[in-house]
């Protein structure tokens, strides 16, 4: 065989081998991380985790108040963030498709989408916590809402742009006013994609820790008072994992297991919902 060709072939083989190795390497981390989560966290999984409060070191307990706090703040954040996100996305896709405002908002939104979440936490500390004078569940929920908005804006705009214009024209031709055309025709056509956006946003915020550290802080006890500090699963994991107590660390692992699988389930659901839309 021509030696030059043989050399090129060898080089190609090496490169292909490397790319296969890289892929195994990438997948390996996923397996390793999920594996150690199951290994360390599964044994701690019991009914008590869901029915008892976070314990003081040395005694048994669960994560109930943390789970409740997380659910409450996540829910509120979605309630606050989703309408704003959907409306802004609607403006960008329906009213201001070619306007200057849209391109600026799109750019700003992309920056917000990947801005460090701890900076969002500082912002909410400055505008909510500091004026109020104390940490609170509300502040935590608002911080999370600020993270929800860009995700929803992005997906809403993308999904509405995918709705064919002939649908809009058909609606306009029967004399449907624009607002009804959007809410009854365009939204319905883009429904699956918009739900995906919300699910992705929930997945994103349910593991967020940094913005909660100094907005909602933490609370060892049961609290549904949104005006006071509120416990949340990620913050409890943070605190318990860094503590020197073995039983706290074990609870942190169990919490980590719960969060991870909840988040992964959410993002897989979102993906499954989004797929048929995209291919059609």
């Amino acid at each position: 065989m021509n030696p030059l060709f043989a050399g090129r072939r060898r080089k190609n083989l090496v490169a292909m081998g490397l790319s296969l190795t890289a892929t195994t390497f990438g997948l390996g981390w996923l397996v390793l991380i999920l594996g150690s989560l199951l290994w360390e966290g599964f044994s701690g999984l019991s009914l008590a985790v869901f029915t008892e409060m976070t314990p003081p070191p040395g005694s048994a307990g669960g994560l109930l108040n943390a789970i409740m706090g997380s659910l409450l703040m996540t829910g509120l954040a979605v309630l606050i963030g989703t309408p704003i996100g959907i409306l802004a996305g609607t403006y960008m896709a329906e009213y201001g498709r070619r306007s200057r405002l849209t391109s600026i908002v799109r750019f700003i939104n992309d920056i917000l989408l990947s801005a460090p979440s701890i900076v969002i936490g500082l912002f909410i500390y400055e505008v909510v916590v500091y004026p109020m004078g104390h940490f609170s569940g509300w502040a935590g929920a608002i911080a999370l809402a600020v993270i929800v908005i860009p995700v929803v804006v992005r997906t809403t705009e993308d999904m509405l742009t995918l709705v064919p214009d002939s649908l809009r024209e058909a609606a306009a031709s029967i004399g449907l006013p624009r607002s009804l055309m959007i809410t009854r025709i365009a939204y319905r056509a883009a429904q699956a994609g918009m739900v995906t956006g919300v699910l992705l946003a929930i997945a994103r915020i349910s593991g967020e820790t940094a913005p909660l550290l100094f907005t909602a802080l933490n609370n060892q006890f049961w609290s549904s008072n949104l005006n006071g500090p509120m416990s949340s699963l990620p913050v409890v994991i943070f605190q318990f994992a860094l503590s020197p107590y073995k039983d706290w660390q074990a609870l942190a692992w169990t919490g980590a297991l719960i969060i991870t699988f909840a988040v992964l389930a959410l993002s897989i659901t979102a993906r499954a919902l989004a797929t048929p839309r995209k291919s059609s």
Binding site: L30, A88, V105, S114, A115, V119, T209, V263
Partner: protein, 338 residues
């Protein structure tokens, strides 16, 4: 789903009969109502879009106001001073900035080649039926909350590094003139190298998925032409795909870099939180976000809090520049593809 009030108006509009048979006055009233709700909806969506703008300006303004006491007290020296002393209230940002840059650099050094190789595997080599599952699995890495990387890094990864990789690096490079400074000191397990490695894993899916997307947007005709000349797969990737997609790939890398710079929880667990600039990458250090996460709730005194907010402002400015650049590049390639 719709509020009851709007539904009746909508029904009237949708049923031509209902409007047609009604008296004229009624009809004009309905139309006026519709016109009003149309305007209101337009205004509402516009307001929401403007709110997004205000959000970002709000972040910038509040950070500037919050950091003003510290910035005016320490001046530009804040950026280059290594001191960090809560007792004497004397602060400087050099150590966190240095740590942020070093850990992100280590992360990109690993994530970029690996990410590009995975993207190449997914677009050129992988059998069709495995592309989606493998792509999704890699992207799931991005879905794992960062606190999970933190707890895993602290309890699983750092001890592993302490026992294996770090002693190995120290013994191999310990006597090499320049490199010995990089790997100086006892193997703690935690430190800048560990943080950089974990960041690399977290950034990997961003680099991979954007590279894969731009790779698969290369016109097949270009690749076919190269294959027709007798190029190997590697040569096609290296001399056709990569030059064609360069702008998009750099955009993806920048996006990953933005993520690495601002990552908080994973780093906070494994960085070691030492406010000093050390040449050794296995030594403990700190990053901007880790410093804020660790010290913010314990900060007493206005200057301390304000210094931490100033750190946040610096972080935001750095990531803002990196992300803007990424978006600009990605926009350019999007235009070309679209």
């Amino acid at each position: 789903m719709e509020p009851a009030g709007r539904r009746t108006v909508a029904d009237l509009a949708l049923q031509t009969d209902a409007i047609g048979t009604r008296p004229a006055a009624d009809r004009s009233r309905v139309l006026a109502k519709l016109k009003f709700s149309d305007l209101a909806f337009h205004g509402l969506t516009r307001a929401a879009a403007i709110l997004v703008l205000l959000l970002l300006s709000g972040v910038i303004i509040s950070l500037i106001i919050g950091s003003w006491p510290a910035l005016s007290k320490f001046g530009p020296g804040f950026l280059v001073s290594e001191r960090w002393n809560p007792v004497t209230e004397n602060f400087g940002a050099l150590a966190p900035i240095y740590g942020t840059l070093v850990t992100s650099f280590i992360a990109m050094l690993i994530a970029v080649p690996v990410g590009l190789m995975i993207a190449m595997f997914l677009t050129e080599l992988c059998p069709q039926f495995l592309r989606r599952p493998i792509g999704i699995a890699i992207e799931l890495l991005a879905g794992i909350p960062s606190i999970i990387y933190g707890i895993w890094g602290l309890f699983v990864f750092a001890p592993f590094l302490q026992d294996s990789l770090q002693p190995f690096l120290i013994s191999v490079f310990g006597n090499v003139p320049v490199l010995s400074a990089l790997f100086e000191g006892p193997p703690y397990g935690i430190g800048m190298l560990t943080a950089g490695l974990i960041l690399a894993i977290m950034v990997l899916p961003f680099v991979t998925s954007i590279s894969r997307d731009v790779f698969s947007a290369v016109p097949p005709v270009l690749k076919e032409a190269a294959y027709g000349l007798g190029c190997t797969t590697w040569e096609v990737a290296r001399h056709v795909v990569l030059p064609y997609t360069r702008v998009g790939v750099i955009g993806g890398i920048m996006l990953g870099l933005g993520r690495a710079l601002g990552e908080t929880m994973a780093v906070t667990f494994v960085i070691g939180n030492a406010h000093k600039v050390s040449a050794s990458i296995i030594a403990p250090g700190t990053t901007i976000s880790a410093t804020i996460a660790n010290e913010f709730t314990e900060a007493v005194g206005d200057i301390y809090t304000s210094s931490l907010i100033a750190l946040g402002l610096i972080l935001f400015v750095i990531t803002f520049i990196v992300l803007s650049f990424a978006r600009y590049l990605l926009l350019r390639i999007e235009r070309r593809i679209g």
